[in-house]
Symmetry: C2
Subunit: 203 residues, 2 copies
DNA sequence: AGTGAAACGGAGAGAGGTTCCGCATGCCAA
DNA sequence: TTGGCATGCGGAACCTCTCTCCGTTTCACT
C-alpha cells in the first residue's frame, strides 16, 4: 500500500471533509457522476468504464481516483435516486398517510424510478440479492423508513405480524422483474403484494 | 460462419439425434456437465470456464464444442434441477392436490433447490429478469405447469383473477433473494405471497 | 493397418476492470 | 508574481475472463 492516507469518503457527499479537495478535482467528480448517471440510466450498469470516462471527458484513472471500483460508482450514481424517493416519501406520505397506503405510494414510486433508470434498478436488485458489503447511506435510510413503516402498520393492526421491513426490499426484486418484462403490469403486482401483507383481520 | 452444420441441440438431451456422436465426445460432455453442476452449485455461476475445464480434466476448447457460450452451459447445468422440480410436482401434487396447496408445495420445492444450488438460483433470476432469449425446454415446461395451475385455481375461484402464471416466476425472484439472505425465512415469504394470490372471497 | 472425419488442447485474441507512474495543475507562501 | 510542491490527471499496461482457431490426436469403419 503506497498511499498513506487513502480517500475514505469517496462515494459519499461528505459534509465535513477532513481535507479540502482541489477545485478541478471537485469539478471532475461532478462530470464523472453526471456521465455515469446518464449512461447507467439509459443503458444499465453494464456500460464500460472507458465509455463513462469518454462521456465525462476524463481519463479512466480519474474515475478510479473518485470511486474505488465500478460497483461503487454505480452505487454512487444511484444515490440520487434513493434521495429522490426518500424526499418524496418524507414530504408526501410518511406522516399523514395510513401505513398501507403509504407503502403503496412508496412501492409505486420505486417502480416508476426503476422503469426510468436501469442502473438504479440493478442496484436495488444486487443490493438486495448480494448478501455482503456495506449499504450506502441513503439506501440504509430507505430501509430504515420501511422498517418503521412496517412497525407502524403492525402496531395499528393493519399489517400482519410475521413480517419485517427488510422483507419489503426483497419483494421489490420481483417488482423490478415485472417492471422490465411487462411495463405497466407492475401496478397489479403491487396490489398482490399489499394484499399479502395485510393482517388477516383486515381482509 | 465456417461450420456448415452447427450443433443445434447441444444443450438438450436429444432423443433422436441427426448424427451420432463419438464415444469420447459423449464421455467428455458428461464430465463437463458434472464438473459444471458441482462448481456452479457450490460457488455460483461466476466460476470461470478455465476452472470448469480443469475440474472436468479437459481443455477449454472442449467446453465450447459442447456449449456455445458460458451462459448456455450454466443453463444446461441447471436443467437437471428444473427436471427434478417438475418430476416432484407431477408425481406429488399436480393432479391430486388443491391448487393453492400445490402452489405452496411447488414454491417450497423451488426455494429448497435454490438454497442448495446457487447456479440454479441465478438461472431462475436471470431468466426471469433478462427479457430476451429462448427459454430452455424444461424451464418452459415449468412455466407451463404454473400457468395451468393458476388457471385451475382461478376456475375454482380460489386464486384472484388479475394474475397470470408468468407473475409467479417473478415472485420467485424475491423468494431467491430471501433464500440467500436469511436462510429459513423463506417459508414466511411463501405464506405472504400465497395470501396475496388468494381471491378476495377466500380471505 | 489405413484413412478420413470428428474431437481435442491450449495458445492467444479481444474486452473489460484496475493499477501505476510520469506529467500537469491548482494552491499557498514568500 | 513566482517558486515549490502536494494534489490530481491521462492513458498505456496489466490482469482476468470469455471465446476462437488451428495443428494434433483419437475414433470408427473398412
Amino acid at each position: 500500500m503506497p498511499t498513506p492516507m487513502p480517500v475514505q469518503q469517496s462515494t459519499s457527499a461528505h459534509t465535513t471533509s477532513p481535507r479540502r479537495r482541489r477545485a478541478d478535482a471537485e469539478r471532475n467528480r461532478a462530470r464523472v457522476l453526471n456521465a455515469a448517471r446518464e449512461l447507467f440510466a439509459e443503458r444499465g450498469a453494464h456500460v464500460s468504464m472507458d465509455e463513462v470516462a469518454r462521456r465525462a471527458e476524463v481519463g479512466v484513472g480519474t474515475l478510479y481516483r473518485h470511486f474505488p471500483t465500478k460497483e461503487a460508482m454505480v452505487e454512487a450514481a444511484s444515490q440520487q435516486r434513493f434521495g429522490e424517493i426518500l424526499t418524496y416519501y418524507r414530504t408526501i406520505c410518511r406522516d399523514s398517510t395510513e401505513p398501507l397506503e403509504a407503502l403503496k405510494l412508496l412501492l409505486t414510486r420505486i417502480a416508476e424510478v426503476e422503469a426510468r433508470d436501469r442502473g438504479f434498478a440493478s442496484v436495488v436488485v444486487e443490493g438486495t440479492l448480494g448478501s455482503e458489503g456495506p449499504r450506502s447511506p441513503l439506501r440504509a435510510d430507505l430501509e430504515a423508513e420501511l422498517v418503521s413503516l412496517v412497525d407502524k402498520g403492525q402496531a395499528a393492526g393493519v399489517i400482519r405480524q410475521d413480517i419485517t421491513g427488510a422483507d419489503i426490499l426483497s419483494l421489490t426484486c420481483g417488482l423490478n422483474s415485472i417492471v422490465h418484462r411487462r411495463s405497466g403490469d407492475w401496478r397489479r403486482y403491487i396490489n398482490i403484494v399489499l394484499d399479502g401483507l395485510r393482517s388477516s383481520r383486515e381482509r
